[in-house]
Symmetry: C2
Subunit: 294 residues, 2 copies
């Protein structure tokens, strides 16, 4: 089984993962019926880079800035004003996924795409992703998915786990790339989402959020709504993942400590590192546990 | 492939199903990438019997009657009053899944289970199912699943389709039996559902409905929310399935015309039979197309 996590260094993190999978798939103590084998992973910072800003937020900021430039009434309101003025406090709050800042954004984006069809939104996301690069790596974001995580998904699937992504970010944004970049079917993408209305044979986006923001307690809530059970295996990297990690049987917390190969930062993850020690979650150091990052 | 639908008589319905699956899985015109192969089926009357009343409604009526018997204030209100008085008009409306009647019921059931944990609700459903039989067949409802539909699900899965149930009935009710009775994982069960709240490490049912009632246009809305795309293959049997059937590439409509082996009725399905002719959906006659029913 070891050679399957080829991009992981031998060490306690890799061993803990292998032990958990072995225990849950081998008859005896800790065995899990295949139906119970749900694995859920945060997206930004767990599956791909989230610095200097989560990719979806960059997408949203650009779209909202474009909208505000066409409409001076919007330009005077939040979050448009903060985006146009490059307000550092606002960006820091968003970067740390503070619920108030995220909520204001979600409202603006609900307004921005109200009435759009799924195909319109998908085309906008694709065009953004094709036209945008990470400055640090000079690569499109879809090329900056963590290889060790893709290998972990593969190992989980081979052991009859179903792998879901569960992000506070936009469900529909992630669904555009989930199949090609992550090998995750659209139906296994959980995230903050608008309600759609079906009229005259077409779906149109409403301005209502469906089931709240998928951050903090919203993660177990969305996971239960989608999967019908709480996860066996969960992975995250931030304080907004704590509730998802605590509701799983086994959890990993990715620690971003490699400024050379990725980014080193702790903002927004202070509480989750403390919680990991208290609750026995497995810490995954990008620097020490991953042979390669991308 | 023919021998795999062993409980289906040779005829136009079986042939149309086999042709569609062949076309969508063979390179050329009509081929569907495996990711696109979503199949969605109504539950009551499509997967198991729904006479004299959909099973979940019987469960709800008994639970609401029990609540009203303990609380005279409830007993004076709808739908409790109609249930206690065995009001035939109300039951007929519910039997035909008229949205207003279903909505009143959903509100009452949201109230009834507000604050309950998933495990409490599951235990209640299991106890009901174990203690209840269909009068006509003298069998528990889980023994009255249509065998031809289970074979169809198997054939679809062998061809890399993912099979979902999409019912106006309760998601959480169906999830209790989906894996054992239908071979459908909980995460592939779509239905009308309460929002849950995660507090102190536990999920509690709120009194809010998540994403509206999954009837009529609510079916494509719920399917898109769960699966991220509209279905390739859909199956239903009633007017409240029309929108789901029209948004799929290929649709079957089960016609209940066999009073000897099952039930013969058209109430609540009048418009869907007319729509099937207009839109070229495949009619599946219980009497003529199914060798065995259960």
């Amino acid at each position: 089984m070891n050679e399957q996590l080829a991009s992981w260094n031998d060490g306690p993190a890799k061993q803990a993962i292998i032990d958990f999978i072995h225990r849950t798939t081998t008859p005896g103590d800790g065995y899990l019926d295949p139906a119970e084998r749900i694995a859920t992973f945060d997206n930004d910072g767990t599956m791909w880079i989230e610095q200097p800003l989560p990719v979806q937020l960059d997408f949203i900021f650009r779209a909202l800035a474009a909208a505000a430039q066409k409409d001076s009434a919007l330009a005077a309101q939040q979050p448009y004003k903060a985006i146009l003025e490059q307000d550092k406090v606002f960006f820091a709050d968003v970067g740390q996924q503070k619920p108030e800042a995220i909520m204001a954004l979600e409202e603006a984006l609900a307004r921005n795409w109200h009435g759009s069809k799924p195909s319109d939104f998908d085309a906008e996301v694709l065009s953004y992703l094709q036209g945008t690069k990470s400055e640090k790596f000079d690569k499109p974001y879809t090329g900056l998915v963590y290889k060790p995580m893709l290998e972990l998904f593969e190992l989980l699937r081979e052991n009859e786990f179903r792998v879901f992504v569960c992000s506070g970010g936009g469900r529909d944004f992630m669904r555009v790339i989930a199949e090609s970049a992550w090998g995750i079917n659209k139906e296994d993408v959980i995230g903050t989402a608008a309600q759609y209305e079906y009229k005259g044979g077409e779906l149109y986006r409403s301005d209502q959020v469906l089931g709240g923001i998928a951050l903090g307690p919203g993660k177990p809530e969305h996971i239960f709504a989608t999967a019908g059970r709480l996860p066996a295996f969960a992975g995250g990297n931030a304080d907004v993942d704590i509730e998802m990690l605590e509701c799983a049987k086994f959890s990993i917390l990715v620690v971003h400590d490699d400024d050379e190969r990725e980014f080193a930062y702790t903002a927004g993850a202070e509480k989750s590192v403390a919680a990991a020690e208290q609750q026995g979650w497995t810490l995954v150091s990008v620097k020490n546990d991953w042979k390669v990052v991308f």
